[in-house]
Amino acid sequence: MPPLELLFQQALNGLMLGVMYALIAVGFTLFFGVLDVIHFSHGDIYMLGAFAGLSVLTGLAAAGAGTPAVALPVAFAASIVITGLIGVAAERVCVKPLARSSPLMTLLATLSLGLVIRESVLIFYPRGADPKPFPWLLPQGAFDVGGVVIRYDNLAILAIGLAAMVAVDRIINRTRMGAAIRAVAQDPEAAQMMGVNLDRTVDATFFLGSGLAAVAGILSGLYYSEIHFIMGVTGGVIGFSAAAIGGLGNVYGAILGGLLFGLVQTMAAALIPRGSEFRDVVAFAVVLLFLVARPSGILGAKSVERV
């Protein structure tokens, strides 16, 4: 394959990764924007989203409703609701009671919750230790554009990811709840004085962020055709790093950070000699560079609002 085509092919691989990272990163950035909280079990919530999606798909297939046109929308909707509610519960258990404690306590509590979620899937999900096959529900063909192979399922995953991002943008910028989220992110006390219900707004934020993680989890299952109970560990670290690169608290920064992280990882593996061994070294070195040179992230400083 000529070098230029190979480069575009790898860029496409990076974009696929980046979309999933971005969806996880948006959750991190929403939680931080509204509550100044780094929710470290968010990666495991993403894993739960994938398992919830798989369970729904398996149930639908058993009930004879396994056709993609029916099963996928139902799986996405059910997984968003289930995972969103779990996210809200996580906030009630690990964040709210520690609101007046040191941020370290919240960090430790959310880390511990992640471990509980992970080990629970390992123990209670049937043969939870093993990787689980995810059904191939998206069209599997491909077409060629100037030597670059583009798969239909990749396009579908990109479209769903993009739709989710647009939906978040609309929710935040065009709805009353979005206005409340923005107001709380800017100044919680002033927002309350203006009649914003803080508890409800926090719940909505956690529901939204966790629901996005569910979308990322199902997309991951559809892309890799396999999910595993430990997938949230790496997903969480990368999602948080992407949010930090983009500028914690800025939704568009999180999207940009996710895409950048995916591209850097892929290009490091593709272009550097023995790069595959160093893909994470390079990607996290970029994170370090941002922390040192631009701690506010790509869009952090430019943002007037923190959401």
Binding site: Q10, V149, S225, S276, E277
Partner: protein, 400 residues
């Protein structure tokens, strides 16, 4: 009537008591046997848990059988520890087992990364440890510790057979290698490369990846550009599944070949139809074809374990029996047991005769070739690929 039925004379009482005493003698004798603890260490959780659970059950079967044997001098108790196939966890498990003086010996490790990480721990503690699944040569050949022995073969023999089979028998000439960067993956890649080149094949590329890496698109896209006839993967099941499935999704048309690390039922279950035609190479023979395989499988089934014994279960069973035999012969003394085990020569077992060389390595290597057929691992010689009814995917692509 009822009164006569329950009337017991003094004589009857004495006779009954004597009979009861006699009847209990063997039981009392068993209870009075000194207890000896043996450790089993393997991956009981995580991606390779199916192999670990099969090994653990087989180990427990050996202990149960020996405890049921009235001739046994000791009563054997099991200390089961999970190494999660992670070196740090394995070292903790090895420390826990070896620091307990009641544990006389161990049947230890399925994963090479854990076995190599714990070698020195067993040596320092003077605890005999017989490896039951890990194939990295250095586990036995990297030192001369008397405590370490291994009942299964090494990856040297495995890769020699794998390379010769791929190049000389199947006619593949070009290979792209992807391997995890653990000791296991790296060493497999090293030995496979050497034997492929010796057999006349060519390695086009070799890429190391992280263990538990999720995305292989970049590596596979890079390898695909060289148009190899075979994509060879050196690593364990969870990663092997991802490589195989992502290869198919990228339209990477090459034969997929793996090492013993992917030969588990989980590989077929998770990879689904993508698994079809995958090649894997494993030390030993299928359990049912081992000299004592049928007897072992019957006993295993009778014991009612919920998990299958998997490919390396018989090795764990044999390792436990060899350790027990040594304890029966020289007593529960770590140093004497280690010395005795190291001198094992032509010991008859269900996997055939076991004989350790000066490094404690079983010198009777037997490598089996497997192909995934209809969701099951089938011995190559018994497969429809060997009989010509089916064609391996890589051979089909060669003709296209």
């Amino acid at each position: 009537m009822r009164a006569t039925l329950y009337h017991v004379s003094r004589r009857q009482l004495l006779a009954g008591g004597a009979a009861l005493g006699l009847g209990l003698r063997p039981f009392r004798g068993w209870a009075q046997k000194p207890a000896v603890k043996l450790a089993f260490i393997g991956p009981l959780t995580g991606g390779t848990a199916s192999n670990g659970l099969g090994g653990r059950n087989s180990f427990q079967l050996a202990l149960r059988e020996r405890n049921a044997d009235p001739k046994a001098k000791y009563r054997y108790e099991a200390e089961i520890l999970d190494d999660e196939c992670k070196p740090t966890v394995a070292v903790q498990a090895a420390l826990k087992a070896s620091s307990d003086p009641a544990v006389i010996a161990g049947v230890t490790h399925y994963c090479s990364v854990t076995a190599i990480a714990t070698v020195d721990t067993y040596h320092k503690a003077g605890m005999p440890a017989m490896v039951w699944g890990a194939v990295l040569p250095e586990i036995t050949y990297g030192h001369k510790h008397v405590e370490i022995t291994r009942v299964n073969g090494t990856m040297i023999n495995q890769n020699n057979v794998a390379a010769d089979f791929a190049v000389k028998t199947l006619g593949f000439k070009t290979f792209a290698l992807v391997h995890d960067t653990t000791d296991y993956g790296r060493a497999h890649a090293k030995w496979f490369s050497q034997f492929v080149e010796k057999a006349g094949g060519k390695i086009l590329s070799s890429q190391g990846t992280a263990k538990d890496q999720k995305d292989y698109a970049a590596e596979l896209t890079r390898a695909k550009a060289d148009k190899p006839e075979v994509l060879w993967y050196g690593g364990l099941t969870p990663d092997g599944v991802r490589v195989r499935v992502q290869m198919e999704k990228l339209g990477f048309r090459a034969q997929f070949q793996g090492t013993s690390g992917i030969k588990s039922d989980t590989f077929n279950e998770t990879a689904g139809p993508s698994a079809e035609g995958t090649l894997a190479f494993v030390e030993g023979a299928p359990t049912e074809k081992l000299p004592g395989g049928k007897k072992f499988l019957a006993a295993y089934a009778k014991a009612g374990f919920p998990e299958p014994s998997e490919a390396y279960g018989p090795f764990a069973y044999v390792a436990a029996n060899l350790v027990i035999d040594a304890i029966e012969a020289v007593g529960p003394d770590r140093a004497k047991v280690a010395a005795r085990l190291k001198r094992t020569k032509k010991q008859d077992t269900i996997i055939g005769p076991v004989e350790f060389d000066e490094y404690g390595q079983n010198t009777v290597p037997l490598i089996s070739k497997y192909v995934s057929q209809d969701g099951k691992w089938v011995l190559w010689e018994d497969s429809e690929y060997a009989s010509g009814k089916r064609t391996l995917p890589g051979l089909k692509y060669k003709k296209m």
